[in-house]
Symmetry: C2
Subunit: 516 residues, 2 copies
């Protein structure tokens, strides 16, 4: 293996599966603790997407079992979702960069990568395949597979395949994986993840069983937010490459104007006409006649046109202020909660909604900076807080403007939902600092902050009144006795009157916990 210093380097290509096999840390599979947590997450999030996004009330079962050796951990997740067509199962679990996630709507899964990483990790660490059982609602069969991944070819290896007739109405997916994991150390995070998931999906039944614990979350409501709809791309999010791809898959006999009015979010006949007039391209040119130069110009004009409609949030499914407030009160036992769901905004043509809640007092322990609870498309984020845009915004805010002096009993919940969350890594743990998102979080915090300030001010006043009342009360007996001696009337009468005056003056004592 000796090298001459200026030897020609050797070059080669990798398959996508080999790339992620070599770099599993970037998907969160960095050690047996984190890998176990990540595996649970990926399976649970797929199950929630397979139910909730299709209007099915989720029934999830999650099992953690230890294997013959203590570091071999079996993870099994069962759901009642839409299932996967049997002929797609091998690719969905056995081919990196293959999936159903590549559409424009809010979902927990974004990369279509997590489950393949879990399969790779099982394969590398324990040499075992993934077991999958699945049926779609209208399929006559239930499919069972055992699968591994051919890493150098990025193709599924089918070790076992069985289709059997479906006798009952069951649909859903059951997945089972055995990985090298460290359950004792992962336990706290995994349970916390399940707990926070339950809080943000109160319409789900979640049953969780581990060697050390059993958690049962019964659904609190049967009302689900309407499932997000698939959106078209927004003109502001268009670039040359996207345009090329859209044109490639369109009917080539369409005119430019018809293509625009039929392809993009919030663009109808009228807006398309106005845009064509503004950009001065020929609206009747057929797609088949467009040159590369036309496409480059078109992309530029689409980015610059000032009169597109804002992206609509139909493809989004935020939690809502009410649920947010209830959620955080339940988690934290706070004295006061202010919650805000901001109006939809967008970055690069992707709609997003920011929701923020500030929780104050009660059982919250005072700390030197606000506690932070992060959610992204209803996924709880537990790792890498320091790299998240929310932490940055919170730490940069001047909290003294809102009468918060640290150490203070303050917690912040931030939920960002979008058709395209700008995660910093494929492990989905931190959101990047996109300026538009930063600004929305900041505005939401300020809005909540102002309410919190009003609350703190009110509480201060109440305390001040209460303090004065106590202060005066001490003297009432004495004053009443003095008046009694002077007038010869009974002192109780004076005391009552004085108390009445005092109450009128200072207002009724209001219990802090009733203030909202």
């Amino acid at each position: 293996m000796s090298e001459s210093p200026l030897a020609r380097e050797s070059y080669r290509g990798l398959s996508a599966a080999e790339f992620f096999y070599r770099n599993r840390e970037i998907a969160g599979f960095s050690n047996p603790v984190r890998a176990l947590y990540q595996t649970v997450r990926e399976l649970v999030e797929n199950s929630l997407d397979a139910t909730e996004l299709h209007g099915i009330l989720p029934d999830l079962k999650v099992f953690i079992e230890l294997g013959d050796k203590p570091d071999r951990v079996k993870v099994r997740v069962e759901d009642n979702g839409v299932g996967i067509p049997y002929d797609e199962i091998p690719n969905v679990f056995g081919r990196v960069f293959y999936g159903s996630k590549y559409v424009i709507k809010q979902s927990r899964g974004v990369f279509g990568l997590g489950i393949k990483m879990a399969v790779l990790y099982a394969q590398i660490t324990t040499g075992t395949p993934i077991y999958v059982m699945s049926a779609t609602p209208y399929s006559p069969v239930i499919a069972e597979y055992k699968l591994m991944i051919d890493i150098s070819k990025n193709r599924p290896i089918i070790l076992h395949e069985r289709l059997r007739r479906k006798n009952r109405k069951w649909h859903g997916t059951i997945v089972e994986l055995t990985i090298e994991g460290n359950w004792p150390q992962a336990r706290r995070r995994v349970e916390e993840y399940i707990r926070r998931t339950a809080i943000i999906t109160p319409y789900a039944n979640i049953y969780f069983k581990s060697p050390d614990s059993e958690l049962i979350f019964k659904r609190l409501t049967k009302v689900m937010p309407p499932p997000p709809k698939e959106a078209k791309p927004h003109p502001y999010g268009v670039d040359v490459e996207m345009l090329k791809m859209l044109i490639r898959s369109a009917d080539k006999s369409l005119t430019l104007k018809d293509f625009i009015s039929s392809t993009f979010e919030g663009v109808g006949e009228g807006i398309a006409s106005n845009f064509m007039k503004w950009c001065k391209l020929n609206p009747y040119k057929k797609l088949s006649k467009l040159t590369l130069d036309d496409i480059v110009k078109l992309a530029k004009f689409m980015k610059e046109y000032p009169n597109w409609r804002r992206p609509r949030p139909l493809s989004l499914s935020p939690i809502g202020e009410d649920l947010l407030r209830r959620g955080i009160k339940e988690i934290l036992g706070a004295e006061y909660v202010a919650a805000v769901t901001r109006k939809p905004s967008s970055y690069g043509g992707n709609p997003f909604v920011v929701e923020v809640a500030l929780a104050w007092g009660g059982k919250i322990q005072p700390s030197d900076k606000p506690l932070l609870f992060r959610f992204a498309n209803k996924i709880p984020l537990l790792y890498d807080e320091g790299a998240d845009v929310s932490r940055k915004v919170i730490d940069n805010l001047d909290w003294s403007n809102y009468k918060v002096k640290f150490p203070a009993p303050l917690a912040v919940l931030v939920h960002v939902c979008s058709t395209k969350l700008p995660f910093k890594g494929v492990g989905k743990e931190a959101i990047a600092d996109i300026p538009e998102i930063e600004k929305e979080i900041s505005n939401a915090l300020k809005e909540c902050g102002r309410r919190l300030k009003a609350h703190i001010t009110m509480v201060e006043k109440i305390h001040e009144k209460a303090r004065r009342k106590v202060h005066f009360s001490k003297y009432i007996g004495e004053v009443a006795r003095a008046l009694s001696e002077i007038t010869g009337l009974p002192s109780e009468k004076f005391a009552d009157k004085l108390l009445k005056i005092l109450s009128e003056e200072l207002g009724e004592e209001v219990k802090v916990s009733e203030v909202h």
Copy 2:
């Protein structure tokens, strides 16, 4: 676009280029500030790898120019490296998951991905190709290309190609890209990145020119650390998949024993024999006869065998305690620096070395927790500190054990080098918390901490002495006069004698800045 709730989902595959095009944030291309920073980094790091790893003293030129619009930024980097063979240039710049980085040795580049991300980003944001000019040392030609990436096929598009005869001895690579960037906001980080790069590569000439600044770093030494050698895989890092790949590319007529003694790091005849005896597999079985079951067993035994040699650090190139100490003194103007280069260690068969320096006092401003300067394979890391293993270890250390009470004037430099750095993202900004690395950082910190404690103790003693000296000095005049009056002798004499006694008693006052 209406959907029936239980509609069959549609599935499809993505090319690797399309995946990263859609998810550019995970490679650090999240906004025009960060993307500009990331582009500079990728080009500079490729240039340093192309020189230093081949024993060439680096001469780098970096130019930032603003285009016709203020948000169009041209980045140009020139180096005197080994160049790229002309027939490899299109794939190296135009195909995701293709490169020369997939070997086992320390290098700045690890994913072979950054430059393609920069090409994609230029293409998406400004519609312009990358310009490349390159020549290898022994090639008779200089090649010039303009390239883009066919995103849906993950293949280079050659817009311009020219080979011309090389008249002079030049070799190296020049790369030029025009991207959408925000120079005013990126400036501080880019310059800081260049500055820290210069500090950790004192044998490089780096010239940096931007619209607002010109930075010139002349090399301080012509002595370069020996270039890291390419290593074989270590048996502890083996898994079933790796074994399969190694066997696939080996001579099938080899016996198992010969395969093992020729393929793995630190394994010769003797160790291979001992291992074969221990694992009880047939050492004379030909590779062509191995079953999958044999391979699974072999992988398991290789992981469990207790007597492999530790991975050697020949494939690594740490900075060394001396350079580390000089570097940090120069950056920070510290009063005291303790530096440690730990012995090589390994995780999952990958050798790594941790280097730590603690800098104390001098010009370092006191802060509530230690300032942190992170380097990974000689790359300065400026973003995502909160997600980095070093921050975690530093924050968990009980600094009071080392007489450090915060706020304190303390800075920590951590350099991790490895043939495989477990970065958390392809943007290469934070190192994951691999337990072995965590432990090494912790031990290095403690080692430095003990030295710092000795220093602080010594300084305290000196100050105490100095304080006592000052204290006594005040009374010397008076005592001398009193003695003079009693004895009738001149008071100066007594004063001199008393001062002499004092100095002997308390030792010479030592200047703090001289203590090392």
